[in-house]
Each structure stands twice: as C-alpha cells, then as structure tokens.
Amino acid sequence: MQPFPGLLCLKAMTRWAAPEGFAEFVRGRHADLLRFAHVLCGDRYLAEDLVQDALERAGMAWRRIERQDNPEGYVRKTITNRYLNQIRVMRRERLTDRPPEIGTSQDDLPDDHLRRLLAGLPRQQRAVIVLRFYLDYSEAQIAETLGCSTGTVKSNASRAMAKLREALIPVKGGAR
C-alpha cells in the first residue's frame, strides 16, 4: 500500500546522514564528554542526557561548529549551560533495577566527605570548580564558557573554596 504522500514528503525533509567529521567526533570523544558531564552533575543518567542533548544540538549545526575549529569546546559549553539552565526541564523519573547506593565508612574512602561537600555546592559554584580543577581552564576560559564575567568566576570560586575549607576543618581536627 502506498504511504500517504505527506508522510513521504516529511520523511524526505527529515532525512539526515551524519557528516563524516561529526561521526568521527562522536565516536572518538563521547566517552570523555560523558565523564565530563558526570563530574559536572554527579549523576550518570543525567550525564547521559546532557551529552545526548549536546551532541544532537551539535549535529544539527555541525558545519557551523566545524568552522569554529573547536567542536569539543562548543559541546562542553553546551553541556555546562544545559546543566546550569535547564536541568529541571530535563530531569525526569527513571525506573531502574539497580539497588540504591550502599553507604561506606570514612575509613574506606578518606575523601568521601569532600566528595559530598562538592556535590552539595550550588550548581554555578560546582561548575566553576569542575572547569578549573578538572579541565584546568583559566578564569577567562571559565567566564567565556559560562557566559559571565571573570569577576563572577572569581567570586564563585572563592565562595566555593571557602565553603569547602570551612567544612573540612572539623575533619582535620579529628572532631568527626
């Protein structure tokens, strides 16, 4: 049976084949991007959503992005901004057969406390810390990625570090 002509037309208009450069980029870089997104948001499922979303956006505008000569920077920036701005839109309930995480004692993981503190930082501050200590970005690069001033980057970094230091003092003193 002949399909409805409108559907054929729609199918033709939405046909898409990955440009060779884009396919190569996705194959080669998606694992690193997943790790970056995981470090950034602390949730592996959300990290997958963020990377999928950012790569789809990049694929839609690949020719333009390729001309800018830094596709990975573009995708990382997209991931960061989607994480900061639209995290609530993307968040949805996900059923899983995995049991909840089992707690571990501080003796087993000495930096677990710091890890939890990091996860508890406001998103903007956490993003600054990740870009600085995971990607070794300069303040100017962080400001460009987040679309804010270097002053804002400095103040966010300073507040985040102060919070972490303050919270770590009792651990060092043996109070915990």
Partner: protein, 310 residues
C-alpha cells in the same frame, strides 16, 4: 597550590566518574537528530499553515472597530415614535413608612421622594398641599406606573401643575411635610414610578470627533455589536433617536443596507451625521446621545461628550 586544590583534582580525576561509552554512539545521536528535524519541520509547517489560513481570515473577518463595512449615512426620514418596552409593573407591597421617606426635591413640574429604608415599599398614601388641594389623579404619559412601588434608594414621583410664586409652599404626606419652595401648586397627581427601558442584548459605541464646530454638521460612526453567542435578528431595521445637547429630537429610520441579522460576535457600523445648533457657544461641552429601538421595543443606547469650538 594548596592541599585542597590537590585533593579536588584527585577526586575529579577519580575513576569513579569514568563511564562506559555507548555501543553505537553515532546511531544513537543520529536518531535524536532525526527526531529533532522532524519536530522542527512539523513546527514550521504548522506555522506556515496558521499564517496561510489565519491571515486571509483576519483580513476578511469583519472586525468591530475597523473601517471595514461601514454602512453609509442616509436620512431614512422621520418616523413615529416607537412603543418602548419597559420593566413590568411591580406588584404592590408593604406601604412605605414616613420614617423611610426622604431626599425629596422638585425638578421642573415633578416632585421626587426617595425610599431610604432597606425594603421595597409601596407609596400610595394621599398627599395634601398646604392650600388644601388633595393630590390624586393621573397626568398624561404612558410610561407611568401607579401606585409607586419603590426599591431602597429609588424615588417615587408626583406630577405638579405649578407656577412660580413669592411664597414658600409644601406638601404633606404620611404626616411628613415636604417643602416645595416658591412654587404655587394648583393640582397634583398620585405617586407613580417611571420604569426603566429594557435593553436589547447589543452594545453600542460611538466614534465621534473630540471637538465639533458650533453651527456645523459633523460625521460620526455608531457601532452596534452583538457580543452574545447567538445571532441577533433584525425583524425590521431599528428606528433611532439622536439627541445633541438635550435638544428635541425625532425618531428616524436606520438604513441597515439589507442586513437582517447581526451574527454572534460581529457588529454593524453606521455612518451618522449631526448638526450642532449655533446656540451652543464655543468653549463648552455638548452631549451626543444615540439610541436604537428594536421591533420588540427594547433599546440599545450610548452617549459621549464633545467639546464645542468656534
């Protein structure tokens, strides 16, 4: 470089954050891209369809307030005053009490007295003038309803046959004396009410120039809008009364240009013309009233104030 910096670097580079790559990442991303392109194509097609259908409809649809479809002015000629529908007479109720009557005033040849109580009452008590004349009887006029059954705040009326004189007079009702001022009354009628006209379910608006010239004609537009969900039938084209500055006016036939109804949410617009009497001096204001009477006697009316210039 501090200890905290090192610890942060170590944590963030930790293998705990490592994630397994996707099995076929290009196909996975490609599927999402195709979905996005399909959604975008549908959105563009929907927008184009909305513009293709909506734009001509918006242009062709008669919009109240636009210049589209104004019926030109034509003098339909003077006609007899129509019978206007008014609120049905109210049944008699508890007689009014003297303590609830007040705010009385004389305007022209009519005495008004209001019901200041909180209940509807009927004023039919006899009234006696200070010269001994007993009020009663009915003066001419079809709009009067006897006796006067009045709601709280509403006034009862009494017609007077009076002339100005140089002494204070009064009328006495229910033991209450109501001063009439320097008015010598020779006869007075019974208490009555003049019930309000019944409105047709139409909205009339007037678009007139802010200022008009004394002793000259001016044009304006009357919009009769049917804002209700059903069609309003025009069994006969309405008659209209145009009053400028309270001057005596005569009913005229409106030209409906063949329209026999006003569909729901649409309007008929009529070009109108009026003459500003030279007696109205420049610098003042004048009120333009326009009222249409339907075949069933219901009315639709509106009015605006205009500045008069030289």
């Amino acid at each position: 470089m501090t200890d905290l910096d090192d610890r942060l670097r170590m944590i963030l580079q930790d293998d705990d954050f490592a994630m397994a790559g996707w099995q076929d990442p290009v196909a996975r991303v490609g599927m999402g891209i195709r979905r996005r392109r399909r959604n975008r194509t549908l959105a563009i097609a929907s927008a184009a369809l909305a513009v293709a259908v909506g734009l001509p409809a918006a242009i062709l649809w008669p919009v109240p307030g636009s210049d589209h479809g104004i019926i030109p002015y034509g003098d339909g000629g003077i006609v007899a005053a129509p019978a206007l529908a008014r609120r049905a007479p109210r049944p008699d109720t508890t007689p009014c009490e003297a303590s609830n009557l007040g705010n009385h005033r004389v305007s022209g040849q009519t005495l008004y007295v209001a019901n200041l109580g909180d209940k509807r009452c009927t004023l039919s008590a006899p009234a006696t003038l200070d010269n001994g004349v007993v009020a009663g009887g009915r003066f001419a006029g079809d709009d009067k309803q006897y006796p006067a059954t009045i709601d709280p705040g509403e006034s009862a009326r009494m017609d007077l046959a009076a002339t100005a004189c140089d002494r204070e007079t009064s009328v006495r009702v229910l033991g209450v004396t109501l001063p009439l001022g320097k008015t010598c009354v020779t006869a007075a009628g019974a208490w009555y009410v003049e019930p309000p006209l019944l409105d047709a379910p139409l909205t009339v608006t007037i678009d007139a120039p802010a200022a008009v010239r004394s002793g000259q004609y001016f044009d304006y537009v009357v919009t009769v809008l049917n804002a209700m969900p059903g069609t309003f039938g025009l069994d006969a084209c309405p008659k209209y009364l145009q009053t400028l500055g309270g001057s005596d006016a005569q009913w005229r036939r409106l030209d409906c240009d063949g329209h026999t109804s006003i569909p729901a949410h649409t309007a008929l617009r009529f070009a109108m013309r009026a003459y500003v009497p030279a007696a109205h001096s420049a610098g003042g204001q004048i009120r333009l009233e326009w009222m249409a009477a339907m075949a069933d006697g219901t009315v639709a009316a509106s009015g605006v104030k205009l500045d008069v210039t030289a």
